[in-house]
């Protein structure tokens, strides 16, 4: 975990086409080697990171909830093709709002090779809440500490090394608007995928009783589904009574993200029509 990419200076690689534009949004990204998810709080410049990496031009507005649908794009690095999925911005993965469900389902069922969590350097505390939640689901995470310039203007100094150390995953400072640090980010994600950079996710210590409950459930889940990468998270969700996870467990099969998303949309429409008819 100590192998931080920032220490290996490789700045002369300007010819590497990080910003190479692969394909437009949607299903046209036919072949890709790796799948990278882009998560983050609303309004952290997540869309800017997405645009800068893919060369796409998603609109970036300064209001919460700007990206309300999932956008996809691609980029190329050292001969490999990466598909980047921009998830809706969320504060958390625990509530059952529509966008949180989309983001969470993708992390869980979409099985990305790596997840980049974009955080706002000016409001680190609030953003780390989401990072810790993502770390509960997957260890293959790179934290993109964006808006470093704003933080500087506000007199905040963010020590990304300390952050990496505490979180157990790499943290890369970036300014997405000027594309500063994005090359580094893409390279780090590649390193995490290949296993060159080891990650060991920090997990928040839950209260004692919760931990006891988890300790009891995790072996049961492990026994039922050996090799499930995130039994702990599944246990968490079961304790919270997550309907989707219950269903996935009962059916024995984890539904694909597409299916999960359709039901979400339909559920919303149904809620509207039923509610409206009262």
């Amino acid at each position: 975990m100590s192998q931080m990419p920032s220490s290996q200076s490789d700045r002369n690689c300007t010819s590497c086409s990080v910003h190479a534009h692969l394909a437009q949004m949607g299903v046209s990204i036919g072949h890709y080697d790796y799948l990278v998810a882009l998560a983050g709080n609303p309004n952290t410049g997540k869309s800017s990171v997405f645009n800068a990496l893919t060369g796409l031009k998603q609109h970036v507005g300064n209001w919460t909830g700007k990206t309300v649908t999932r956008a996809e794009g691609g980029y190329q690095l050292q001969g490999k093709n990466y598909k980047l999925v921009d998830l809706p911005g969320t504060y958390s993965l625990l509530s059952a709002s529509q966008d949180e469900e989309i983001a969470r389902n993708f992390l869980l069922f979409g099985r990305p090779d790596c997840t980049i969590v974009v955080v706002d350097a000016t409001a680190l505390e609030r953003n780390l809440n989401l990072v810790l939640q993502v770390l509960e689901i997957t260890e293959k995470v790179v934290v993109c500490v964006n808006l470093m310039d704003e933080a500087g203007r506000k007199g905040l100094e963010v020590d990304t090394r300390a952050l990496s150390r505490d979180l157990g995953v790499p943290a890369i400072p970036t300014v997405a608007r000027t594309k500063e640090g994005l090359h580094e980010l893409a390279r780090t994600a590649a390193g995490v995928i290949s296993g060159e950079i080891e990650t060991k996710a920090k997990r928040a210590q839950p209260p004692h009783e919760v931990q006891k409950a988890l300790d009891e459930l995790i072996p049961m889940i492990d026994a039922f589904a050996p090799g499930l990468p995130n039994a702990r998270w599944v246990a968490f969700r079961l304790l919270d009574g997550d309907h989707k996870v219950r269903q996935a467990l009962l059916s024995g099969e984890l539904a694909t993200i597409e299916a999960a998303q359709t039901t979400t949309d339909e559920r919303f429409s149904r809620a509207i029509s039923i509610h409206g008819s009262q």
């Binding site: 309004n43 031009k57 609109h59 970036v60 507005g61 300064n62 209001w63 919460t64 909830g65 309300v68 529509q98 000016t122 680190l124 505390e125 953003n127 780390l128 809440n129 810790l132 939640q133 704003e150 506000k154 007199g155 905040l156 100094e157 963010v158 020590d159 300390a162 952050l163 505490d166 608007r177 920090k202 928040a204 210590q205 839950p206 209260p207 009783e209 919760v210 409950a213 009891e216 459930l217 049961m220 889940i221 026994a223 039922f224 079961l238 304790l239 919270d240 009574g241 219950r246 467990l249 009962l250 024995g252 949309d265 339909e266 919303f268 509207i272 029509s273 509610h275 409206g276 008819s277």
Partner: protein, 464 residues
Amino acid sequence: MSKSLSTPQNILDRSDQLRRALDGDFRDQVVSSLYGEAQRIAERAVRRDSSNKWDLDQRIDRIVTSPVFGLPMMILILAAIFWVTILGANYPSAMIASALFSLEHQAALLFESWGVPDWITGFLWHGVFRGLAWVVSVMLPPMAIFFPMFTILEDLGYLPRVAFNMDWLFRKAGAHGKQALSMAMGFGCNAAGIIATRVIDSPRERLIAILTNNFVPCNGRFPTLIMLATIFVAVDFPPVFASIAAAGAVVGVVLIGVVFTLLSSWMLAQTMLQGEASAFTLELPPYRRPSILRILYTSLIDRTIFVLGRAVMTAIPAGAVIWILANIEAGGTSLAQHVASFLDPLGYAIGLDGVILLAYVIAIPANEIVVPTLMMVYLGADLMTELTSFDEIRALLVDQQGWTLLTAVNLMLFSVLHNPCATTILTIWRETRSARWTTIGALMPLIFAFVVTFLVATLWRALV
């Protein structure tokens, strides 16, 4: 742990038991422990330079949300945007119009010299091309000015402050403050505004926002409003104030739209969508310096070209339809005249005329082509008048077609209140998947439009 204990049902049952045994709210405990951890990590990673106090944002916020200046500033900013749009669009519009119409003229002459049959020349150049020319000249300049300015506001972070200022009003109407965000997006395009309602979590309040978004005049309707304001309102003012008066009139119409948004939200909340306000949590993000290049890209390529492209795509078939209607005759009058005189009684009742209603029927696919349709039907097939300035349009409308101030006022009202365009209706359906709400979303504004214009026309005729 034996395998037999680990059936899915066992796991579920045990997790249910454990959940009930947990003290207090499970979620509270988990979130608290997460935030506790986040706080500790953040404290170690962030050093705060205490000499640089972070209060520029707060100072700006104190002004833009101030009890005294907050609301007037909002209206003033809106008025300023319209004023610049009207001022800046006037001249380029006339230039584009005269260029395109002279092209039409030359091309028609050229076709004539080649011996192409008259009806082909007429259909192609006086039908399809003229529709196109109208749309481009009427729409392009205002959009190219309006969109960049609006995008600046959006990128700065002003919109959430508007939602913050307006929430109380929406709440009184039984709706959600974030509806202000979707309304703001509706200025660009109502379909985009309806998609933006996804930021509202409560299904009930989101539905209200979807159904009432139409009362925000979208960019396809601005040209109509701007034209009417310029022709009928601005003429009564000295030239120096003319554009300000026109902008004031447009803002007035927009405010009427806002009033109707609140009114219809309130009516929905009292009848079909009863309920009280849900939770309102809105982040006021820090102000960000907009990046000029991105703004130009977003507003010109993404928005202007997109909206214009859509308008052009509907203008071409609409131009063809209008030309056919205007040139195929039955019993000595054109089809267009037949339809228009059929609609005339209804049009008269609401202070408009049959041609205007015909224009609105043809413009169902896109509101942008209302003015072009009006012009083409009024001018008919054989008139070759080239209307390149507002003075000439005024002469046509007032002197030849008998428009009055009532016509102008009611057309403005009708433009703000009438049914959404086909794209918007489709978007309502996509977002709600309900035929019922789509129908209501399409018909409620139309009913509003007819009732209001009818009342205005009746009162006006009784009083004036």
